[in-house]
């Protein structure tokens, strides 16, 4: 419980630093970047790893929590340490904290 509190305090502090310094949050806080092109392409950066991957659901672990992408015929076009590209019919992007 104490650890959770300290993490949220750290996040708040980093958020303030980012706001005050004008530096981007993805650099300071490690926030994920999602670039969605229409409904068929999704580019994810700043993630930690994949938790689940099926044709209908992709769960991605990031520093701010999990991102759950639902859709049909989902496919990971490529997967590197920096970014991944998902194609298919994306119906929902959900942040699970």
């Amino acid at each position: 419980m104490r650890e959770k509190n300290s993490t949220s305090c750290e996040k708040k502090f980093l958020g303030h630093v980012s706001d005050m310094s004008g530096m981007p949050k993805d650099v300071i806080m490690g926030a994920p970047i999602l670039t969605v092109m229409g409904q068929t392409e999704l580019l994810v950066e700043n993630y930690r790893g994949i938790l689940e991957y099926t044709e209908c659901i992709i769960r991605i672990q990031t520093r701010i929590g999990q991102i759950r992408i639902s859709g049909r015929n989902l496919m990971i076009e490529y997967y590197t340490n920096d970014e991944m590209k998902i194609t298919g019919k994306v119906t929902e992007i959900k942040y699970v904290n």
């Binding site: 994949i50 938790l51 997967y79």
Partner: protein, 416 residues
């Protein structure tokens, strides 16, 4: 597209990852910088593509994640060569074809002439052939500057030439002088005259009576209403230089320029045979195909003409590469159409119409040239063998052609 070509050249694998948690395998791969793409889930396992070098780095990942990796497909040039390593003739053929394409690309296969209106492509290509520039010559031997100079030197009407090589094609672009020839010629003559210091006269080119005369340059030697004979000087280019006493001291030579019209009589004669040959076609056409290689002709059938009277039509096509590179092989067909010949006679009315039409065409042509017809007594005479239309036309037409002025002896020399 480019990336997939590179991948194909380097070679890559399609693998299937089976295990308790294949996601761990993916994360471990990305953590170690192993590039994977095209990941598709297939019933509890994943299919994906991986580079050959990436596959060699997989051992610790497999050990750590406990996943099982199976190669399902080997794709790319290295695997292709390995698979067909025993087919030496195939590879030799591939190398030979590349060598052939390269060696054939060293020659001129097409000569393209652009921008020509007056001179035909064939004429210019024949001219280039005379200068050693022809189809099938080596590209390295083509001297574009030489081509440009040769064309400019030989054709006065071509005012701009550019020769360039595009691939296996020699492109010759030209620009012709679009000014009318008369204007150009007049300009040339004036220039020539000025250079030599010799003037020009205008002389009558046929007999007639002058009706109008407008002289812009030169001294008129005839007047309106005067009758002139062929060869008479109408305007002279030798302009006398007169001193204060009114005596001629010398001559200045100029290019005479005048509009002179004269009333001229011209004869007209046209004839037409009363009988003509009528052809009645028998509709028994005979068609023979043939093939020609060089000077040898191979007939595909009987080539003899069995008919006493027949029209022959030959349609020939020649084999060519590109637009102008003709090979000495042609093919075609010879069509023989027989007919029965009979002598028929023209109806008198028809004959009259025919001669009248011909006369009208003649007068129309004269009118187009600016000739005004003021009198005509052309009549049609029908004889036993032929009909004739003859008579005299009186017309008003331009008269006079240019001729160099003959030098007049210097007057002052004579006085001294």
């Amino acid at each position: 597209m480019l990336l997939s070509i590179f991948r194909y050249i380097k070679g890559y694998l399609k693998i299937r990852v089976i295990g308790y948690s294949p996601e761990r395998f993916l994360n471990a791969c990305s953590h170690r910088g192993i590039y994977i793409w095209g990941i598709t889930p297939v019933r509890g396992s994943y299919d994906m593509y991986i580079t050959v070098s990436g596959f060699h780095k997989l051992k610790p990942v497999i050990r750590k994640t406990g996943a099982k990796v199976v190669i399902t497909e080997r794709i790319g040039l290295p695997f292709y060569f390995f698979r067909y390593r025993k087919r030496k003739v195939f590879f030799a053929g591939a190398v030979l074809s590349i060598a052939l394409i390269y060696s054939l690309s060293l020659f001129v296969w097409s000569i393209d002439v652009r921008g020509n209106r007056k001179y035909t492509d064939e004429a210019l290509i024949a001219f280039l052939e005379e200068r050693g520039v022809e189809h099938g010559m080596r590209l390295s031997q083509v001297d574009c500057d030489r081509i440009v100079k040769d064309i400019r030197k030989s054709y006065d009407e071509i005012i701009w030439v550019s020769a360039s090589i595009e691939g296996c094609r020699l492109i010759v672009q030209i620009k012709e002088n679009e000014d009318s020839k008369d204007v150009a010629a007049a300009a040339g003559e004036t220039k020539d005259g000025a250079d030599t210091g010799q003037g020009s006269d205008i002389v009558a080119d046929f007999d007639g009576v002058i009706t109008t005369m407008i002289v812009r340059q030169g001294i008129p030697c005839a007047a309106e209403g005067q009758e002139v004979k062929k060869g008479d000087v109408l305007v002279t280019g030798a302009v006398p230089v007169v001193d204060d006493a009114g005596e001629t001291t010398g001559y200045q030579y100029q290019q005479s320029d005048a509009d002179i019209r004269a009333r001229v009589s011209m004869d007209y004669q046209d004839s037409c045979d009363l009988s003509y040959e009528s052809k009645e076609y028998l509709h028994q056409e005979k068609e023979v195909f043939y093939l020609q290689a060089g000077n040898r002709i191979f007939w595909l059938g009987n080539n003899k003409n069995p008919f006493p009277d027949a029209e022959e039509l030959t349609i020939q096509s020649r084999l060519k590469l590109g637009r102008y590179f003709y090979l000495p092989v042609s093919w075609g067909r010879r069509i023989i159409s027989p007919y029965r010949s009979t002598q028929e006679k023209y109806d008198e009315n028809l004959l009259q119409t025919k001669l009248t039409d011909e006369y009208r065409r003649f007068t129309d042509n004269l009118a187009k040239k600016g000739v005004e017809i003021i009198e005509n007594d052309v009549k049609i005479y029908t004889g036993s063998a032929k009909a004739e239309a003859k008579g005299t036309l009186t017309v008003i037409t331009d008269i006079g052609t240019e001729r160099p002025t003959s030098f007049v002896e210097d007057v002052t020399d004579g006085d001294d």
